[in-house]
């Protein structure tokens, strides 16, 4: 197989504490190696930044709800189209790009891994069918567990081990990578058109509170010793005054110990959870309070969900939230309750610069990134496409690296941000090292992937991004437009040692791995739980149990991550 030398690049590799050093990266057989035999192809990286390939930790890029968003928005698809070329398929869509296009667009930005944020178990096959059609990147899917009848019943009855065995089975059946919780218990309440509005507001009939469900799933996650922590979209997403719920939620895992060297909870798109005020007229940022809480709690990692001020699509398993949003905008609305599991919804949304709310939301995303001190705790996302499409990442990078750019944008949004957020007073500007943390190294660590991803040490996958930026010549604070442009269009994207992108153009396509967790529990326990599963399938599901699990064949380059539980 091929050998490759990336010569004289300026390397940012935070996991290995490499901060802008000039060095060579050697690649052999898709891995980073210590030395080569010779005959390697050389890429001259002098005057260019070399980083590990970007990792997406939370993006709605594949699955039933994503496709619903595509289907009901032809107007989003006429906005952006890429014709087929000799090497690529065609694609369309601005905020809901088609599958092939999704892979190409991530790859052009130097991303090499991406996780799709919400997979209803019953729809798992659909998610994987789409992932199969996303080229260029390695991928994985988060399995939704929020309104799951098995989980709610086990936890209500205090049967934590059975619950763990069920979740273990569910991850295997759906080929999921992460235990994802969206609006805990609220998604079951939405089965009746209701919601859970606090941590102690129980799901109807099942009589279990969001607090109990989250606590239980945190414990289950650690019993199963999963690579990632629970991945939580907290209650009251997008609601006025919700920062109180968010702060409460951060405390729920207290007392549980992580089974690996990582956080105990990943709290996602926290921008949508940092709201103060009790009417839209006194709506304000509480990013400072949230940042304070994160700064004093090393066990929490968040991602931002930064608003990019675009006309985009909101989609989440949080069905009641989507209903609420469409009742504000009166735009089209799609809902898809999934039996016994969860309740996704979709509606378009326009974050207009003229709107006070959208302006404050924009400020909050950046405040979180800038006020949380440790970049390992605040990863960069747009909760694609909820707060904006992922193709805006380069712009967010530029905002983070340049106070001047933020000021320039601030002058164009509603002036309410000067009163109801702290964005104007923040001087902090991210370094390239910080950027490397919040876009790849931090993600790898949080996902439990840092043995092979998110760094350029020997033995890592040769997933590498090269950007045509010379830190000694470009001042990001001043040349922010240049930063945005260069991060949009990687000089090279290398995946498993193969050059996929050169000068921002795709030169060849490849399909990446699909990562999933093969979770193992005690055989007797699993058998016992299977009896429950069989019983409930016969009665309450609309498909037969035998037709539920996703077969491994549908996964591109199926890659299992095995974890043995402590039960």
């Amino acid at each position: 197989m091929s050998e490759l030398v990336l010569k004289n690049g300026i390397v940012y590799d935070p996991i290995n504490n490499v901060n802008g050093e000039k060095m060579d990266i050697l690649v052999k057989d898709g891995k980073i190696v210590e030395k080569l035999n010779g005959n390697a192809k050389t890429i001259d990286c002098s005057g260019k930044i070399v980083m590990p390939g970007g990792i997406e930790i939370h993006s709605h890029m594949a699955g039933g709800k994503v496709n619903g968003g595509r289907l009901f928005q032809p107007e989003d698809h006429v906005r952006f189209a890429m014709p087929k070329t000799k090497v690529t398929r065609s694609g369309t869509g601005f905020s809901t790009p088609t599958t092939f296009l999704t892979g190409y667009l991530y790859s052009k930005m130097g991303y090499t891994t991406g996780m799709t944020a919400a997979m209803p178990p019953l729809m798992a096959r659909h998610t994987h069918e789409e992932l199969k059609d996303i080229p260029m990147i390695d991928k994985g899917a988060y399995c939704l567990t929020d309104g799951n009848w098995f989980i709610m019943k086990y936890l209500k009855n205090g049967e934590i081990e059975k619950c763990a065995a069920y979740v273990s089975w569910l991850l295997k059946a759906t080929k999921g990578y992460v235990v994802k919780i969206t609006n805990p218990c609220g998604t079951e309440a939405w089965g009746w058109g209701k919601n859970c509005r606090s941590l102690d507001d129980p799901a109807p009939y099942f009589d279990i509170t969001p607090r109990e469900l989250v606590k239980g799933l945190v414990e289950v996650n650690e019993i199963l010793k999963l690579p990632h922590s629970v991945h939580l979209h907290a209650n009251n997403c997008g609601r006025l005054g919700n920062f109180v719920t968010t702060l409460e939620t951060f405390k729920v895992p207290n007392g549980t110990k992580p089974a690996a060297k990582r956080q105990i909870m990943h709290a996602t798109h926290i921008q949508f959870h940092s709201y103060g005020g009790d009417t839209w007229h006194n709506f304000e940022s509480k990013a400072d309070e949230i940042a304070k809480a994160v700064n004093s709690n090393k066990n929490i990692v968040i991602d931002t969900g930064t608003v990019t001020l675009d006309h985009t699509t909101t989609m989440t398993a949080d069905g009641p939230l989507e209903y609420y949003l469409q009742s504000l905008t009166h735009l089209k609305w799609m809902n898809r309750n999934v039996e016994m599991e969860t309740s996704p919804g979709i509606t378009p949304f326009i974050y207009s610069r003229k709107m006070p709310t959208a302006s404050i939301q924009w400020a909050i995303g950046l405040e979180l990134s800038l006020l949380i001190k440790d970049p390992w705790q605040v990863l960069m996302t747009t909760d694609h496409p909820n707060a904006g499409p992922f193709i805006r990442y380069p712009r967010i990078i530029a905002w983070l690296m340049s106070r001047k750019y933020r000021e320039e944008t601030a002058s164009k949004v509603h002036k309410v941000i000067y009163d109801r957020s702290t964005i104007d007073g923040i001087d902090r500007e991210y370094s390239f090292y910080d950027i490397a943390i919040v876009t790849r190294a931090g993600e790898a660590k949080a996902l439990g992937l840092s043995d092979r991803k998110g760094h350029l040490g020997v033995g890592a996958d040769a997933d590498i991004a090269v950007y045509d930026i010379n830190p000694s010549e470009i001042d990001p604070s001043r040349d922010y437009k240049e930063i945005e442009k260069k991060f949009s269009s990687a000089a090279y994207t290398i995946k498993d040692g193969e050059i996929l992108v050169k000068n921002g153009e795709i030169v060849q396509t490849r399909y990446g791995r699909t990562l999933w967790v093969n979770s193992k529990v005690d055989g007797e326990l699993e058998k016992e739980v299977m009896k429950d599963i069989e019983y409930n399938f016969k009665r309450y599901y609309s498909v037969n149990l035998a037709n539920y699990p996703v077969r491994e064949e549908v996964l591109t380059r199926s890659t299992e991550v095995t974890r043995s539980a402590s039960v």
Binding site: Q326, N337, N544
Partner: protein
């Protein structure tokens, strides 16, 4: 004799997945649990004669040809076309549709499915107002009010009522039918209407008016007219009350709405009614999709091209506008210069004017059986039956994905749609 369980029935959008097929050598003995139509489809293996060799029509006569020759000729026709139409797809696997899309993209053609003459108007309405929906199991477990509007599942989706809507016992509806109410709205007293608790006979073509009246009431207005669409005011108010006061309602609708005057606007109004009802209670709506994988065709089209049907690749990327890029419109404008039909019979189901153009242009058909379309085709390539002789992914009417099973081998020498299409694509690429 072998019994294969958990088989998925490849007939209608209900996609029952509990069929037990008993196979005896090359015969299917029975298909337990299947409805009359599903059963017919499985048993058809035994007696509908299966063409094995491709047919090519030349100089006024058709002759048998080798698969290689048929594929080469098909590729040539498609490769030389300026505006080819690739049509069908609702009775084959998603995997086959995916190859079809790749061919359409490669040759800059049009690809459309039977959706266009079925629930195309539904999809268009969804694009205007959305679709508050649920999976079928939610209905089984929760629904206490079920409405079929312009749909006759007793004929078109025979097990729909017993598996998902009226008869099954659900978690919150332990007594099954006794815990639910069934209302049918239709222009005729259909067999479904006959078992309903309430039947509302709407004047033909006036569904839109009735929906508008209901929406006004649901939104707090007062109906001034004494009768709308042949339905007395009290009955309309009673219906609106039932809808607002149920705990979990579902409105299923069929071609009684999509095909009658107003088409997509009927659905627009029906969906909007359901949206409005969500201010009062939990209410959902679902189209009764016909062919077993018509939903899957739309899903694959959407994730690969961005649009669910009627896609035009003439500029190298997908464009969409039903009325312009849809099959019947391009056929009636006589724009199409070559046609590929997969797993469908447009000659039997399109209006005369459209079929007249199909008869004029070179047509290639890939299907398991002789049909009216193969009658008018220049090339007919027999294929295996997906869901019986071949595995493949399909999507149920509520978008739940299922992997259909293979229960029996196809006749020797007969290839799958996927394989035939892949070979055509390969050949087209060789020609470029």
């Amino acid at each position: 004799m072998a019994t294969i369980t958990d088989v998925i029935c490849p007939f209608c959008g209900t996609l029952c997945d509990d069929i037990e097929v008993v196979v005896n050598g090359s015969k299917i003995e029975s298909a337990r649990h299947a409805c009359k139509i599903g059963n017919s489809k499985f048993l058809s293996i035994n007696d509908i004669p299966r063409p094995i060799k491709p047919l090519i029509r030349e100089n006024g006569a058709s002759r048998e040809a080798s698969i290689d020759e048929a594929i080469a000729k098909a590729a040539e026709i498609l490769s030389n076309s300026k505006r080819a139409l690739l049509f069908g797809w609702s009775s084959t696997s998603c995997e086959a549709t995916a190859v079809g899309i790749e061919i359409a993209e490669e040759i800059g053609g049009l690809i459309d499915g039977t959706t266009t003459v079925c629930h195309g108007p539904t999809v268009m309405a969804v694009q205007y107002v959305g679709l508050p929906s649920v999976t079928l199991g939610e209905i089984k477990n929760r629904a206490d009010l079920v409405i079929y509007w312009g749909a006759n599942p007793m004929h078109a989706h025979p097990r729909h009522l017993s598996r998902y809507s009226i008869f099954p016992r659900g978690y919150f509806r332990e007594r099954g039918q006794q815990d639910r109410e069934l209302i049918v709205v239709d222009v005729r007293k259909t067999d479904t209407a006959k078992i309903a608790n309430h039947f509302i006979q709407v004047e033909f073509g006036k569904d839109y008016e009735l929906l508008s009246a209901l929406r006004m009431i649901v939104n707090g207005g007062e109906l001034e007219e004494e009768e709308v669409a042949g339905v007395p005011k009290e009955k309309i108010i009673e219906l609106a009350d039932k809808m607002m006061n149920c705990q979990f309602g579902i409105l299923f609708f069929g071609m009684g709405l999509t095909m009658s005057p107003g088409k997509h606007r009927n659905i627009d109004n029906a969906i909007s009614l359901v949206k409005n009802l969500n201010r009062h209670t939990k209410f959902s709506i679902m189209p009764m999709r016909g062919h077993w994988n018509v939903t899957g065709f739309g899903e694959v089209m959407t994730w690969q091209t961005g649009y669910p049907f009627a896609v035009d690749f003439s500029r190298g990327y997908a464009r969409y506008n039903p009325g312009e890029t849809s099959a019947n419109d391009v056929l009636q404008r006589e724009e199409v210069d070559a046609v590929l039909v997969v797993a469908s019979d447009p000659v039997a189901h399109f209006p005369r004017k459209s079929v007249a153009h199909l008869a004029r242009v070179p047509m290639i058909t890939i299907a398991p059986h002789h049909s009216l379309t193969t009658e008018l085709s220049e090339i007919f390539i027999p294929s295996s039956m997906v869901g019986i002789e071949e595995e493949g992914t399909a999507y149920r009417m509520d978008t739940v994905p299922l992997f259909t099973r293979k229960v029996i081998d196809p006749p020797q020498g007969v290839l799958s749609d996927v394989e035939i299409l892949k070979r055509i694509l390969e050949k087209i690429r060789e020609m470029r």
